[in-house]
């Protein structure tokens, strides 16, 4: 029977010839991941099941949500996870990047099955793997057994064609898709991106597309591998699966990206998306460039092109967090970070930064932040009466320069 890439990966990992949506399967896991915020609860569950992880090289812990610890409570959480890493002798323990970026750079191969205790684990599917976010108890069970149960999802197909106009990026494309599909429009579904736009875009942009699948309720984002993927993966080979031509999709969306303008998601929900023109001139207090959505080298490059040799507005603090150490070094080598600092940016360590409001730039009452992150929920970055506007790195950088929300096309 014809199958989608997601169905084929789940069939392979659960040792079945084929699976169909609605089947319950138990799949072998390539990796499990938890970060400093979710690991402690996962560890508690883990020790109720067993005392030894299924494979010390495939259980990954990353400190990114509040590293280095900003509070005593945070340090205590770190202490607990660090003890687990030491006791279990885990080889994959990192404090130098956002978990999803590190997984993409160091671990994931096509055909892999990854579960992560973070909702944005849908990101890594851009490399042709099945990757999904779960909660701590699921990850505790996964670390113990190396397996996890899944309901095989129905698939949605997003066929993206054409190319975006200058100043419009993958973030604008996915924001416009989230608006059309809605915050619950892809609940429980696999979201497969295809079409010549996807093929022509970089791995970095593909990761941005898959990253925000969860903002439509999706289970996993996935993109078939091509030469770009192989070049990126270098020595990682994996197992290649492709959707059959006559595979069954619950729905197909055909999107011509040429007409998409720069987009913003206005508070308090991610599907509240408008063209940037709707809020042009809105005052901002903070601009943030970083995260698993848009903290990669090409994002920093775009911001640098806009800000090099200029100064950000006095009313704005501009925070930059390269998504990993590799990106940090690459951006430094190219002089981007120096240019951004000279323009007035504060460059933080590679972490989630202020995205979840725990450190490195929280907001007070009445403030507005424009951010390259993926969520604008009430209270996420600090005070519940602060506002978060989501946008592309170009819109973030241009707005930092202007001191208010602006259309980046006027600055490129």
């Amino acid at each position: 029977m014809a199958s989608t890439i997601t169905e084929k990966i789940l069939a392979n990992a659960s040792h079945q010839k084929e699976v169909v949506p609605g089947n319950y399967v138990v799949a072998d896991l390539s990796y499990t991941m938890a970060h400093d915020s979710t690991a402690p609860l996962a560890i508690e569950s883990f020790y109720k099941i067993t005392d030894k992880v299924f494979d010390k090289d495939r259980v990954i812990i990353v400190f990114d949500h509040f590293f280095p610890a900003p509070t005593v409570a945070g340090a205590t959480m770190h202490q607990k996870s660090r003890k687990f890493v030491m006791d279990q002798n885990l080889s994959g323990f990192f404090t130098n990047g956002v978990c999803h970026q590190l997984l993409v750079e160091k671990f994931i191969s096509p055909g892999d099955v990854l579960v992560g205790a973070d909702s944005h684990t849908c990101t890594e599917g851009a490399l042709g793997a099945f990757t999904t976010g779960l909660g701590s108890t699921d990850i505790g069970g996964a670390m113990a057994t190396g397996k996890c149960w899944f309901k095989v999802p129905e698939s949605l197909k997003f066929i993206l064609t054409g190319s975006t106009k200058k100043g419009v990026y993958a973030k604008d494309v996915i924001l416009s898709i989230v608006r059309d599909v809605g915050a619950a429009g892809a609940l429980y579904k696999a979201c497969e991106f295809t079409g010549d736009y996807v093929k022509n875009e970089s791995i970095s942009s593909r990761l941005t597309l898959c990253n925000m699948v969860i903002e439509m309720g999706g289970k996993n984002g996935i993109i078939e591998v091509d030469q770009k993927t192989f070049d990126f993966l270098d020595r990682r080979k994996g197992k290649i699966f492709r959707s059959d031509k006559d595979a069954v999709y619950e729905d197909e969306y055909e999107i011509e990206v040429e007409n998409i303008e720069p987009q913003v998601a206005l508070p308090p929900v991610v599907d509240n998306v408008e063209p940037v023109s709707a809020v042009e001139g809105k005052h901002i207090d903070q601009a943030f460039l970083g995260t698993c959505t848009n903290g990669r080298l090409e994002d920093i490059e775009v911001a640098t092109r806009i800000l090099k040799g200029k100064k950000i507005a006095r009313n704005v603090r501009f925070i930059v967090s390269p998504a990993s150490e590799d990106i940090y070094f690459a951006a430094f080598k190219k002089g981007y970070l120096q240019d951004l600092v000279k323009a007035g940016a504060t460059v933080c360590n590679s972490s989630c930064g202020p995205c979840i409001g725990r450190h490195e730039g929280v907001l007070c009452e009445g403030e507005t932040c424009i951010s390259s992150q993926n969520r604008n929920f009430t209270g996420r970055m600090g005070h519940p009466k602060a506002e978060i506007v989501l946008a592309s790195p170009a819109t973030v950088a241009a707005s930092a320069l202007a001191g208010k929300i602006v259309d980046p096309r006027d600055y490129i």
Binding site: I49, G135, G140, W149
Partner: protein, 161 residues
Amino acid sequence: MRVWKFGDDINTDVITPGRYTVTTDRKLLGKIAFIEYRPEFAKEVEEGDIIVAGNNFGCGSSREHSPVAIKAAGVSAVIAKTFARIFFRNSINIGLPLFVCEDTDKIDDGDDIEINIITGEVRNKTKSIVFKAKPLPEFMQRIVDKGGLVNFLRSDGYDNI
């Protein structure tokens, strides 16, 4: 049981803001449920109360702190039109009963309702109406019957599925 009614797309930052989840202390988490969105909730909620909501309840982050906080606050069940996927799994895994029900518009804040956990029958005593919630799929019911994923893996394990 008293109903606490919520709307659509209630997200995990609303249930348990990230700034308050730097702990695994269940009692503490129970006290911060809806702390900014609905501050009276944690103070007034009583053992056995039921949360009723619209679509996509629990969307957003994977943080298990959200269902843990709801359960620790004393809530006995959550009924919603639809649930976000990770929240749904997390709740099953920690033994917080969830019910999918299209008729949650027939329930208002403060109503007195009863739910039969086996049959899914919802009785709105305030409005004197009865309707059905969907029972859990058999596979998930087995996990709930064991009291959550940890007990399920200890007693049954994945080999016996």
